[in-house]
């Protein structure tokens, strides 16, 4: 059964079409790498899935439940959108940690706030928030940050900050984890530690969409690859086939550019 089903998703900014009828499906544990030059709509696709952008037309289903369908003329209120967002986790290019909270507080803030909103009994609540804390510590350990849980974002390197951001997204147990160029803001020597963490998530059966420029990494980790060009899916399919044997002119040109600049 498909975890995520996206059908004919289109998005316009003013008169320019940023996404044109993008469709794909993800099964449990599948990893999709989205590649393409800047301005091809990769980031917009992730933002649409996370309801940070409005969608012109198309539909999004998670576990067969319709999250969005432009054919239903329903207006979702803020609360609806909030609930729908929780199916997705988003890791930003620039981390976007909350500067006034420690690494652990960054991870536990949202779950604890959700808890306060949803439960009445305060003794039960304090027990649960203890659990959330314990889970947050475990997540940071998984990220290799057990010694950094009380550090503030400005005391952490970019790679460490991004790993906290990954833990923060995981704390809400999303069905699909989205990465928006997770290593683009990092020095080359910090890229490895973040990719290692993503790799470990891949082994743990996490369903992921990764927008990336790390072609070698995409090849190694992704099950499927989607190549976007001017908002259109030019090629979508098995990662090895596309990266090794694609006959499509645009994708060959794109890959050539990466190889010639050595920008792996």
């Amino acid at each position: 059964m498909a975890v995520l089903e996206v059908n004919n998703l289109s998005k316009r900014f003013g008169t320019s079409e940023v996404l044109k009828e993008v469709s794909f499906t993800l099964s449990q544990g599948e990893i999709l790498a989205v590649i393409g030059s800047s301005g091809s709509g990769k980031t917009t696709l992730l933002r649409c899935l996370n309801f940070l952008e409005s969608i012109e037309s198309g539909s999004i289903k998670v576990h067969d439940r319709v999250l969005f369908d432009s054919n239903d003329q329903v207006k979702y209120d803020e609360n609806d959108i909030r609930q729908r967002r929780l199916h997705f986790g988003l890791i930003f290019q620039s981390f976007n940690l909350f500067p006034q909270y420690t690494a652990l507080e960054n991870v536990t803030l949202a779950p604890i706030l959700a808890l306060k909103k949803n439960s009445d009994s305060s003794t039960y609540r304090s027990k649960l928030s203890e659990d959330i804390r314990a889970e947050g510590i475990a997540l940071l350990e998984r990220m290799g940050l057990e010694t950094k849980q009380d550090s503030y974002p400005h005391q952490l390197s970019g790679g460490q900050q991004q790993r906290v951001a990954i833990a923060r997204a995981l704390a809400l147990k999303p069905d699909i984890l989205c990465f928006d160029e997770p290593t683009s803001a990092l020095d080359p020597e910090l890229t490895g530690e973040v990719l290692k963490v993503i790799r470990s998530l891949a082994d743990g059966n996490t369903t992921m969409i990764i927008v990336t420029h790390e072609m070698q990494f995409a090849k190694e980790i992704a099950d499927n690859i989607m190549f976007l060009d001017e908002g259109m899916v030019v090629e979508y399919g098995n990662a090895d086939e596309i990266l090794s044997n694609s006959k499509n002119e645009r994708i060959m040109k794109f890959l050539d550019r990466y190889e010639s600049t050595g920008d792996y």
Binding site: N79, R82, R85, N96, L97, Q100, L109, R168
Partner: protein, 214 residues
């Protein structure tokens, strides 16, 4: 009149100065936030209304505003709406709220949109995002300009005497009309000491918020 006697009399006036100061802050700090939200509203009529009010309040001397609040209701209703003291508090609170609102607005708009988005994708409500993520970062950024306003307020309290609210400068003026001039200059010491305390307090707050960078 002895130095001690003058000091004691000035102190009673200074108590009134402090009261005006404290009440004005108490009302204008939150009211300023409400006005700031109004001036950022997506609903154009509200935004324009708020901007016009801020323009008028910032465009007219505070002294004139005190006169308006105290005397104008009297002209219309035949009696003043509020006592002298309350009129001063009302005029000061509105005036300072308008100045503060612009500082708040600048601070709020300086926070990167990505902080809101990070909260949104974590399923937080708008209220949670503002109070749990944005507000403290805003406070850290606006502390210095707020300290300017607060210090200006200390000295603006002297305007209350234009409708006969007897604060420290009015007490000193009363001495001066009886040919005792030096208490007038002596009031400067009170203001300086108080502003000194406030400066230390703001320095303390800035250090307290120095644990993070935003």
């Amino acid at each position: 009149m002895s130095f001690i006697e003058v000091t004691l009399r000035l102190l009673t006036g200074f108590k009134q100065t402090l009261l005006i100061f404290a009440l004005t802050l108490l009302f204008s700090l939150p009211l300023g936030l409400v006005i700031a939200f109004g001036s950022m509203s997506k609903f154009a009529p509200l935004r324009i209304l708020v901007k016009v009010i801020v323009w008028i309040v910032r465009g007219v001397p505070l002294m004139l505003q005190i006169f308006v609040v105290y005397y104008v209701p009297g002209f219309i209703l035949g009696q003043p709406l509020a006592s002298r003291f309350n009129s001063v508090i009302l005029a000061f609170s509105i005036n300072y709220a308008c100045y503060l609102s612009e500082i708040y607005r600048g601070g709020i708009e300086s926070i990167s949109l990505s902080q809101y988005e990070a909260g949104q994708v974590l399923g937080m409500t708008k209220t949670q995002i503002f109070f749990k993520i944005i507000l403290l970062q805003v406070i850290k950024r606006i502390l210095a300009p707020i300290s300017n306003e607060v210090i200006t307020l200390v000295k603006d309290t002297a305007l209350a005497r234009v409708i006969m609210v007897v604060e420290i400068l009015k007490v000193a003026e009363n001495f001066a009309t009886k040919a005792l001039i030096w208490p007038l200059f002596y009031t400067g010491v009170f203001y300086l000491l108080f502003v000194g305390v406030l400066t230390l307090l703001f320095g303390y707050c800035e250090r307290k918020l120095g644990y993070f960078r935003a």
